[in-house]
């Protein structure tokens, strides 16, 4: 089983993801350069956080043109696991691999802090070790994480159970106060209809070891490993 971590110019969480896969999970992992035209040989592809192309123009706007994105689109179409974290999520929406868009935080400021996430869907390759409603403590770090979709799209996403994580308070309640960026329905992470592409703003890569304040993020990577071992999951 081999993970790939994509490097775009301006990515800055690629080493963090690499470290979790290699040193925390003990799985094999390699970097994928954004100019590569194939992701052959990889079982899962991670788009890490950062500021691809400085997030100039719009977050993810210029990154979506990288050659590797076509390969990743095919990979996803064939059912390959694709996981976009933070900037990776933004790139996936820009590239049309996930619905919606990520607007500027309502507070207009970058926010870096731990949040509670309520697990909404376990029937995905990214959440198969989680239980419905399970609370995860995972930090965010973004200025544009305000999830938006037009009413019909939103209805469809909710209807299909594509919402995987919502921002919650420490008791698991989905409240406006628990919403750090103004996301519709407190949405923190979604999957595509096929459920093999996940995008989320919070950073499991920064919360996979107790010494960093939480190891909850590890559960998401472990779910991916499960899914690759037992594809039926």
């Amino acid at each position: 089983m081999k993970f790939g971590v994509v490097i775009f110019p301006g990515s800055n969480c690629e080493h963090d993801c690499y470290y979790v896969i290699q040193s925390v999970l003990g799985k094999s992992v390699e970097y994928i350069w954004h100019q590569d035209t194939s992701v052959k040989g990889f079982d899962a592809v991670i788009l890490p956080g950062g500021f691809a192309y400085g997030d100039y123009l719009r977050t993810g706007a210029l990154a979506k043109f990288s050659p590797v994105m076509n390969a990743i689109a095919d990979f996803a179409k064939k059912g390959g696991l694709v996981f976009g974290i933070c900037n990776g999520f933004q790139i996936l929406t820009e590239a049309g691999l996930l619905p919606g868009a990520l607007l500027r935080n309502v507070g207009l400021k970058y926010v870096c802090e731990f949040e509670y996430l309520r697990t909404e869907a376990m029937d995905t390759p990214f959440t198969n070790v989680l239980t419905k409603g399970q609370l995860l403590r995972i930090p965010i770090g973004h200025g544009d994480g305000n999830f938006f979709a037009d009413p019909d799209t939103l209805k469809r996403i909710e209807g299909n159970g594509q919402v995987v994580f919502r921002y919650a308070d420490r008791y698991g309640r989905i409240t406006p106060e628990a919403n750090p960026n103004g996301s519709l329905n407190n949405i923190a992470g979604i999957v595509n209809e096929q459920r093999n592409v996940l995008g989320m703003m919070p950073h499991p890569d920064r919360s996979s070891e107790e010494i960093l304040g939480s190891a909850d993020g590890k559960l998401i990577f472990e779910s991916m490993v499960n899914a690759l071992v037992i594809p039926s999951l």
Binding site: L57, T93, R104, V106, L108, F148, A149
Partner: protein, 75 residues
Amino acid sequence: MRATVIVTLKPTVLDPQGMTIHRSLASLGLTDITDVRQGKIFHVQLKEGNREQVERLAKEVLTNPVIEEYRIIWE
């Protein structure tokens, strides 16, 4: 040859920046201003002709159709 591309959020999309500016105005006594919406403007230089390159730039690069719309002004 010069073109200007104006990119604005669709009317249905919330504009936190514009709202924040608008909220700050009362304290400055700018009470006659009833609404502010923010967008982006791009001044583009191009070699003669080839207008469709600007069209493509505006459509495929400068605008995210999910939330934005664009207008091109030729000079």
